[in-house]
Each structure stands twice: as structure tokens, then as C-alpha cells.
């Protein structure tokens, strides 16, 4: 009697919960795991998680993908490798997600990428920009944002687009991130324009004063300063440059937001000579970016959208496109194949189309700079624009 009851119970479970071969995929849901620094000093970059989640919520409101709604499971990694490993293990083993859309800090991505590769879990990067993430090539790993090589190259090209540029100084952190960015910029300047960096300076994290650096820059009188610095130190450099009357244009990196720098510096006059890498089509505060801002506000009314909030929206749209292309019989292999077939995908938010292929998973190969012009954020592809 007990055996018959057990068989009947199992049959009922099978009828009410049809078994799908792929983890994280049910009849009406696709489970996506997001991990990012939602607290801690790097949490400013973790805002990318809200933009991505807003895109997924929006597609759910429109009926989902092949009848399935996206269910997001969000974890906080605090930009800490150990916490990221725990978060990803929870997402894959306990929450049983179909794929991961996560990783804002390169260190956390490096810590989890081999494990996800072994499990063949599709891993789409949320915001981590190190070019080393996609080297060596991993079949399951996609980077739908401009990486550090692209950013450093764009910064040099922008500086050299001003006629007469002959002296470029570089100031960076001495960590792996700063050194990698500096190396790419230095090599590109040499290879493409035959120039050497005229002055290289260090500015360490959590520094509260940049007087020695500014005085050295003022002495050297470069045409541009490339700043491979994190947001707080970039703001410090801009603030102290203004304090000492230095008018040399300072070019900031992808990790630095124009409006965040303005807020930190607290002086619009100091922002006159500051430009930073910009990945988006519409300018900040423009009517064109308003729909994206509203989309985030709709699902996260307490979240104040800024540059980093939009960072993963293009990637989320590429994920949705691939999920559509993969068809109703969704598998991880089909999804990876669909991602690799994405070519010149215009997300509407990124200013460069996303293109992946079977042997290249660095999807964004361009960008622009942004600066205040007449008090308004203005996107500039070249200096003369």
C-alpha cells in the first residue's frame, strides 16, 4: 500500500511540475543569478545590477520570452573574491540558476569564472571591464561592455584627436588595474602615434591630497593627463587641479562617472577641463536617456540612477535577444550559441553595437568621451566635436 502511495505521489509531482533538463528553466520561468557589490566601497559600481534587473522586469511585463518570465536572484559580493565565490555557489547549487549575469569587480569575476566554466553555466559580465577576463577565451563567458583595452585606446585616441597634441602625461594607481590600463595606453600611444608618455605619476587609493602630483604636472605642462584612477581619486585630482589653477584637460576612465565626479568635487568650475570615458548613446540628463532612467525608477523607486546604473542594460538586452533566438526548448548550449551569433546588436543604450562570435566574446569595441559643455553633459567622439 505504501509503495502504491509513493508511486502515485511521484506521478502527481511529475504532472504538476514537469521536469526540464536544464537547471533554472521551468515551464514558465528562467532563473538568472546576479551578483554585484551592493554594499561597501565599490557599491557605486554595483548599481549596474539595478539597470539589468529593470530590463528583465520590463520584458516580464511585456509577456516574457517564449512564455517564460525571468526570475532574478540577486546576491551581494561586496567586491570581495571570497564572498563572490560563496554567492555564485549559492546561485548555482542552491538557487539552481540557468545563467549568471554578474560581476562588476574584475577580481571577483576572475575568482568564479573557472568554476562556472566547469559547470558550463553561461556567464555574462555585468560591469567588470578588465580585458583579462576574456583572456584566455572561455566558451561560456561573455563581456558585453567596453573592456579596459578599448577604454585606454579610446582615451589616447581622443587626446590625439586634438591637433598639435605632443605631450601626454599619465597618472594611475599602482595596482593591477591601474598598471594594466596604463600599459595598454602607453603601447597604443607608441604604436599608433609614435609617442612616449611624457610623465608617469602614481596616486594611490584613499589618498586625500594630490599636491605633489599636481605640482609635477604643472611643471611638465602636458597637453593631456590620462587618469587611470578610481572615482574618489579622480575627483581628488580634478579638485586639486582646480585649486592650483591647472587647466590641462584630464581624461577619466570608464569606472568614473561625470555626474558622480561633479558631486564629489562640488564645484562646476573645476569640471571645465574634465572628460571621462562614456559608453552610452544618449548623454546624461538628456531627454533621450530619460526612458532608461524611468525604467530603472519604475522598479527601484529608491534608486537614484547614474552612469553606472545603465552599464549592464545593453548586456541584459543582448541576453534577452539570445534567449529569444535560442527558442522555446532552451538549453545552456543553445543560449551560448545564440549569444555567439549576436552581430551588430544595437541596444539603444550603448553607443557601440554588441558583436560576439565563436572565438571572440569581448562584445563592445568602441566608445566615446563625455564632458560638460555650457553646463550640459555632452558626448564627444573626438576633440573637435
Amino acid at each position: 500500500m505504501k509503495r502504491i502511495t509513493a508511486i502515485l505521489a511521484a506521478a502527481m509531482v511529475a504532472v504538476t511540475n514537469p521536469v526540464f533538463a536544464e537547471p533554472g528553466v521551468s515551464e514558465d520561468t528562467i532563473k538568472i543569478g546576479i551578483f554585484a557589490p551592493l554594499t561597501g566601497s565599490a557599491s557605486i559600481f554595483g548599481r549596474a545590477a539595478f539597470g539589468a534587473e529593470a530590463v528583465y522586469n520590463e520584458i516580464n511585463e511585456k509577456g516574457g520570452i517564449h512564455g517564460r518570465k525571468i526570475e532574478v536572484v540577486r546576491e551581494d559580493d561586496g567586491c570581495d573574491a571570497a564572498r563572490a565565490i560563496s554567492a555564485v555557489r549559492k546561485l548555482t547549487a542552491q538557487d539552481d540558476v540557468f545563467m549568471i549575469h554578474g560581476g562588476v569587480c574584475s577580481g571577483t569575476v576572475m575568482a568564479v569564472r573557472d568554476d562556472l566554466e566547469r559547470q558550463n553555466v553561461p556567464f555574462v559580465i555585468l560591469g567588470a571591464a578588465s580585458a583579462g577576463i576574456v583572456k584566455p577565451f572561455k566558451k561560456n563567458l561573455f563581456q558585453p561592455i567596453p573592456n579596459s583595452d578599448v577604454v585606454a585606446t579610446q582615451m589616447v585616441d581622443f587626446a590625439m584627436s586634438r591637433p598639435g597634441t605632443a605631450k601626454i602625461a599619465l597618472i594611475s594607481h599602482t595596482d593591477e588595474w591601474g598598471e594594466t590600463n596604463s600599459r595598454v595606453a602607453t603601447e597604443h600611444l607608441k604604436n599608433a602615434y609614435g609617442l612616449d608618455i611624457s610623465l608617469k605619476l602614481a596616486l594611490e587609493r584613499s589618498t586625500t591630497d594630490a599636491t605633489p602630483q599636481i605640482l609635477q604636472l604643472r611643471n611638465a605642462q602636458p597637453d593631456f593627463v590620462l587618469a587611470m584612477l578610481y572615482p574618489a581619486e579622480t575627483a581628488l585630482l580634478v579638485r586639486d587641479a582646480h585649486k592650483f589653477g591647472m587647466t590641462t584637460p584630464i581624461l577619466g576612465n570608464f569606472g568614473v562617472s561625470l555626474e558622480d565626479t561633479r558631486d564629489r568635487v562640488g564645484d562646476m568650475a573645476a569640471m571645465a577641463n574634465f572628460y571621462t570615458f562614456y559608453a552610452y548613446e544618449p548623454a546624461l540628463s538628456s531627454p533621450e536617456i530619460e526612458p532608461w532612467t524611468k525604467m530603472i525608477a519604475k522598479y527601484f523607486p529608491d534608486h537614484r540612477a547614474d552612469t553606472f546604473s545603465y552599464e549592464a542594460m545593453g548586456g541584459a538586452l543582448a541576453v534577452i535577444e539570445a534567449l529569444k533566438q535560442a527558442g522555446p526548448d532552451l538549453t545552456r548550449d543553445k543560449f551560448i550559441g545564440a549569444m555567439e551569433s549576436i552581430t551588430d546588436f544595437q541596444s539603444g543604450i550603448l553607443n557601440t553595437p554588441i558583436t560576439f562570435s565563436a572565438d571572440n566574446h569581448a562584445g563592445v569595441n568602441g566608445g566615446a568621451m563625455i564632458a560638460y559643455r555650457d553646463g550640459k553633459p555632452t558626448v564627444l567622439k573626438t576633440w573637435s566635436e
Binding site: 566601497s41 594611490e204 586625500t208
Partner: protein
């Protein structure tokens, strides 16, 4: 150029000095090395921010309220967290201060985890030019505030009966208790006082460093270096150590390499501990047997 570096070095050094001063006052009056002092400094800065920017109090009121809150916080920490283990090993008290640091930082992260907040300068005027030297009003306030605190505590410990009593109670607590001095009460008061100094330091420094939950950690290392350099427990030494480290960072950064600035404090700790273990103004400890 040299004059500007010296001026900027004095400002930076004053920041280190004022934090080192708070730690030294506590060490001198209670014998506790406060590894959580950076977090108290952060809490002081956030308290001023909350009272002035969130609640909307006038700056002076916000400042006084923040100092009052920090004094109460310091006293509460002593009464509830330190006193119960005060007779245990020194390392237990030290670990408790580390735990306080993580607790306060964690609370700040909970409320402001995603924010780096800008604290408006106390006096918002254009930079001041003294010959070729450029200084902001905030720079001058930092130097002035630091010097005022140093003088006040120097006079307190050297010239007042209460100050001398506190030092005596710290050095021989059992003897002090035997003659009727309320040693735990003294200790609690000093925890409150140094927490109040942290609020003053946070108020002065936050417009320069900006506000974020981990803002105290980096400066704590510099303050330790200043204490080590000047001699543990020596008020003048802590301040002198802070100023020298600030100056040396600026000069070494300009004339040798900017990469030296960040490691300078660690170099100071290593070299001083090996060559001059008691610091430049510290006294050699003698134990009577």
C-alpha cells in the same frame, strides 16, 4: 614649489595628527590602544552629515549634536564592551576595539553602502593665495583645529589636577582605586572625550576626504605611524609625528617618486620600531623589579 609642498604637508600632517592625538589621549589615560578609532572618526563625520544635511540643523548645532552623540557612544562602548573584559588580557580589549570598528563600519554600510557623500566645507570661500602658496579655508581650519586640540590636551594633562589624576589612575589603577578614585568612571569619561575628538576630527576632515563608511581605515594607519614615530603615549610626539609624516609624504612624493607617498607611513613604522623603538619623543620604559 617647496613652500607649497610644506603648506600642503602641514595640512595632511594635521589630519594624521588629530586622529593620532585622540588615540594617544585614550592610551595615556586608560592604557588601551584603540584600533577602532578610525571607525569612530567616520561615525563622527557621518553624525555631522546627518544632523546638518539630513535633519537640516544649522552647522554649529549639528556639530555640537554630533560631538554629544559621539561622547555618549564612546562612554557606552566603554561601559558595555570594554569594562566587562578590562581585567582580561590586553589582546582581548584590543580585539574588542577591532570588533567596534567592524560594527560601526557595518552599520554605516547598511545605511550608506552605495554612497560616497560630499560634505560641504565649513567655510565655502575661494582658495586663499599667500604669495605662491594656495590654501583653502578648510585647510586653515584643519591646521587651526589640530593645534587648538593639542594645546587644550597638553594643558589638561600637564597643568590640571584632573589631568594628572587621570594619568596616575591609568599607570597604577589599583593604587588609585585604593585611595578612593573612581577609576572606571575616569576611563568611561575618557572614552567619551576621545570619541568627541573623533567627531571634531571627522567634521574638519570630511570636506576634504568625502564621506564613506571605510573612510577611517586608511587614516588610522597614518595615525598609528604618527604615534609610533612620535612615541606611544606622548601627546606632542603624536602631533609631531603626524606633521612630519605629512611633510615627508609631500616632499618625497614630489622630489623622489609619487609612488612613495602611500608606503611612507609603513616605512616609518618599520624603521622607527627597529632604530628608535620608543619614538622620537617617547621615553624608555623601565620596570622596577
Amino acid at each position: 614649489m617647496f613652500a607649497q609642498l610644506v603648506a600642503s604637508g602641514l595640512v595632511q600632517g594635521s589630519i594624521y595628527a588629530v586622529i593620532a592625538l585622540g588615540m594617544t589621549v585614550l592610551f595615556r589615560s586608560t592604557g588601551v590602544v584603540h584600533f577602532g578609532y578610525g571607525a569612530f572618526f567616520m561615525a563622527g563625520a557621518f553624525a555631522v552629515y546627518v544632523f546638518s544635511q539630513v535633519i537640516g540643523l544649522a552647522f554649529v548645532l549639528a556639530f555640537l549634536a554630533a560631538v554629544a552623540v559621539l561622547v555618549l557612544l564612546g562612554m557606552a562602548c566603554e561601559r558595555m564592551l570594554v569594562r566587562p573584559i578590562a581585567h582580561g588580557p590586553h589582546v582581548a580589549v584590543a580585539m574588542m576595539t577591532v570588533a567596534m570598528s567592524y560594527l560601526l563600519t557595518g552599520v554605516a554600510r547598511f545605511f550608506w553602502g552605495q554612497e560616497v557623500l560630499r560634505m560641504p566645507p565649513i567655510i565655502d570661500v575661494p582658495p586663499i593665495f599667500i604669495g605662491s602658496i594656495v590654501l583653502t579655508a578648510q585647510d586653515l581650519l584643519i591646521i587651526g583645529g589640530c593645534m587648538a586640540l593639542v594645546v587644550a590636551f597638553f594643558l589638561f594633562f600637564a597643568r590640571t589636577k584632573l589631568g594628572k589624576l587621570m594619568q596616575a589612575a591609568s599607570q597604577v589603577p589599583r593604587g588609585a582605586a585604593l585611595v578612593g578614585i573612581n577609576v572606571p568612571g575616569f576611563h568611561m569619561a575618557m572614552w567619551g572625550v576621545v570619541a568627541g575628538i573623533a567627531a571634531v576630527a571627522g567634521t574638519l576632515v570630511a570636506p576634504v576626504t568625502m564621506l564613506y563608511p571605510d573612510m577611517g581605515a586608511h587614516l588610522l594607519i597614518k595615525a598609528f605611524a604618527a604615534m609610533t614615530f612620535g612615541g606611544f603615549g606622548n601627546l606632542g610626539g603624536a602631533v609631531l609625528g603626524g606633521l612630519i609624516i605629512g611633510l615627508a609624504e609631500q616632499l618625497a612624493g614630489f622630489y623622489i617618486s609619487t609612488a612613495l607617498i602611500d608606503i611612507f607611513a609603513y616605512l616609518v613604522i618599520i624603521v622607527v620600531l627597529i632604530v628608535l623603538p620608543n619614538g622620537i619623543l617617547g621615553k624608555k620604559e623601565a620596570t622596577r623589579v
